[in-house]
Amino acid sequence: MQTAQTAILSLPRAVGRSAIGALAHVGRFSLMLAELFRALGEWRIWLPRTMDEARSIGAGSLFIVLLVSAFAGAVTALQTGYQFQGNLPYYVVGTLVVESIVLELGPVLTALVLAGRIGARYAAELGTMRVTEQIDALESLGRSPMSHLIIPRVLAGLVMIPILTIFANAIGVLAGWWSAKQVLPISNGDFTYGAQYFWRPFDAYYSIIKAFFFAGAITLIPCYMGFNAQQGAEGVGKATTTAVVATSVTILLLDTLLAKLLLHP
C-alpha cells in the first residue's frame, strides 16, 4: 500500500527527471555538433585519420553489406515473382526489384547492418577511450577529441556509407535479376524493360540522400554515446547497446520522415 503510494507520488518526479535527462541529451548532442563544426578547421589532424576510418569502414563492411543486399534482392525477386505470377507481366519483377532495392532495401538494410557494425564499434571504441581516460589524455595534451576522434569517424561514415549503399543497390539489383531468371521465364530484355520503365532519376538521388542521413545517424549517435560513456566496463557496454538501439530506431524514423518529405512533399 505504502509502496504503491510512494510509487504514484514519485511518478511525476520520475517523468520530470527523464524529461530533463532527455533535454540534457539534446543539449549535449547539440553542443557536440557545434564543437564538431568548430573543429573542422583542424583539417591537418582529421584528414589522415578520416582516411584510416574510411578504409576501415569501406574494406571492413563491404562484404557483409553486399551479402545482405544480395539476399534482399534475391528474396524480393523471388517473392515478387511468386506473388504476381499469373496476374502481372513478368517485367514487373524488374520494376519491383529495382524500385524496392534502390528506394528502400539498399539504403535501409545497409544502414541497419552498419548500425550494428560501425555504430557498435564507434560506441565501444569511444566508450573505452572515455573510461580508460584516453579522451582525457588527449585533452590534457591540448588536443581536441573532436578533430582527433569524432570528425574522422563522422566524415568517413558520411563518405563511405553512401558509397557502400551504391554498391549494395547494384548488387541487390543484380542478385534480384539473377534469381528472377532462375524461377521465372523472364528475359534480360523483360527485366531491363521493367527496371527502366518506372525509373526516375530522382530515385537514385533519393537513395543517396537517405544513405547520407543514415550515415549521420550511424556515426553521430554512437560517437555521442561512446563519448559520454559512464565509468567502467559496464558503462561501455551500456553505451554500445544504447547506441545501436538508438541508431536503428533513428534510421527507421528518418526513413519514414524522408519518404514523407521527399516523395510526398
Binding site: 589522415p48 582516411m51 584510416d52 574510411a54 578504409r55 569501406g58 574494406a59 563491404l62 505470377q85 499469373g86 496476374n87 502481372l88 507481366p89 513478368y90 517485367y91 529495382v98 563518405v159 563511405m160 553512401p162 558509397i163 557502400l164 551504391i166 554498391f167 543497390n169 547494384a170 539489383v173 523483360d190 524493360y193 527496371a195 527502366q196 520503365y197 525509373w199 532519376p201 530515385d203 537514385a204 543517396i208
Partner: protein, 294 residues
C-alpha cells in the same frame, strides 16, 4: 609515408568505384547508353505516355530509345529518338506512338519510308499517335453502337440467336472482369464499361417487339445488313488485335494472357461473333458483302 599513400589509394579507389557504379547504373536505368547513336528528332502534338527510354522499333525490332522529350509549346513536343542501330531513313519516314499494353506502355514505331531521297540530318520528322488501347476502346464502343442500329434490320432468327449468344459471351467476359481481385487497370475497366453499355443496349433491342417485326422484312433490309456486316467485321478484327496482343504476351496484356478464365471468355466471345458473321454471310439473298475473317 608509403603506407599512408597505399591506404589513401585504397579509399580513393573504393570511392571512385562507387561513383562509377552510380553513374553507370543511373544511366542504364535511365535508358541511356554509351556508344554511337543517331539522333532523330520527331515532332508530335501529344506524346502521351512516351518518356525517355521508351523503346523505338523498326519492323518490330528495337533499334533505339527515346532520348529526350522537350516541350515546345501547347500541342508541340519535340522528341529525340536515339538509334543505336543504323537505320537508313527516307524523306517520307514516319514515327508513330503505339500503345502496347493496358498499363499505359507505349513504343515508338519508326517507319523508315520508301522514298529514294534520304532524310537530311537534323530534319524533324512528323510524328503521329496510333489509336492505342484507349482509342481502341472508344472505337469498339462506336462499332458496337452501329451494330445495334444494324441489328434492328435483322431478319434472320438464326442471326438474332447468334447475336444473342455473342451478347451472352460478352457478359460472361465482363463478369470475369468484374472480379476486381484481378485488379483490372484503368483502361481495361474503361473497355469493360463500354462493352457493358453496348451489351445492355443490344439486349434491349433484341428483346423489343420491333426486332421481331423487322425480321419479317429481310429483303428490304439488305443494305442495312451489309452495313452491319462491315461493322461487325471491323469490330471483330479489333477484338482480334486485342487477343493477338495478349497471345503475343505484349507485356501488360499478360494479365489476360495468363488468366485462363478471362481468356476463355474472350475467345468464346470471338467465336460467337464469328458464328454471327458466318450466318450473316451465309444468308440467302442479294447479299454480296465480302466478309473478311481473321
Amino acid at each position: 609515408m608509403d603506407l599512408h599513400y597505399k591506404r589513401e589509394a585504397l579509399v580513393g579507389s573504393i570511392v571512385l568505384a562507387g561513383v562509377a557504379v552510380f553513374v553507370v547504373a543511373t544511366m542504364w536505368l535511365g535508358g541511356k547508353s554509351f556508344g554511337r547513336k543517331d539522333l532523330v528528332p520527331v515532332h508530335f502534338t501529344d506524346v502521351g505516355n512516351v518518356k525517355s527510354s521508351t523503346p523505338v522499333k523498326v519492323s518490330g525490332v528495337q533499334v533505339g530509345k527515346v532520348d529526350r522529350i522537350a516541350f515546345e509549346g501547347v500541342g508541340s513536343v519535340r522528341v529525340d529518338l536515339a538509334l543505336t542501330e543504323h537505320v537508313p531513313l527516307s524523306q517520307d519516314a514516319k514515327a508513330t506512338i503505339v500503345a502496347i499494353g493496358v498499363l499505359g506502355d507505349v513504343e515508338v514505331v519508326l517507319d523508315p519510308g520508301t522514298d529514294s531521297v534520304p532524310l537530311s540530318p537534323g530534319q524533324v520528322l512528323e510524328g503521329t499517335t496510333a489509336a492505342g488501347m484507349g482509342g481502341l476502346v472508344d472505337e469498339l464502343g462506336g462499332q458496337a453502337r452501329a451494330v445495334m442500329i444494324g441489328a434492328q434490320a435483322l431478319l434472320n432468327q438464326q442471326t438474332a440467336d447468334d447475336l444473342h449468344e455473342t451478347l451472352k459471351a460478352m457478359q460472361r467476359l465482363m463478369s470475369v472482369y468484374a472480379d476486381t481481385r484481378t485488379g483490372p487497370t484503368a483502361e481495361m475497366t474503361r473497355l469493360m464499361v463500354s462493352l457493358q453499355g453496348v451489351s445492355a443496349r443490344l439486349d434491349s433491342t433484341l428483346a423489343s417487339p420491333a426486332l421481331a417485326s423487322t425480321m419479317e422484312n429481310m429483303d428490304s433490309a439488305t443494305a442495312g445488313l451489309t452495313r452491319l456486316t462491315e461493322q461487325l467485321t471491323t469490330t471483330t478484327a479489333r477484338m482480334d488485335t486485342l487477343v493477338q496482343n495478349m497471345n503475343a504476351g505484349k507485356g501488360t496484356m499478360g494479365q489476360l494472357a495468363t488468366n485462363p478464365a478471362l481468356y476463355d471468355q474472350l475467345t468464346a466471345t470471338m467465336k460467337s461473333m464469328q458464328a454471327l458473321l458466318d450466318s450473316v454471310q451465309a444468308k440467302p439473298g442479294k447479299l454480296t458483302v465480302q466478309v473478311k475473317m481473321f
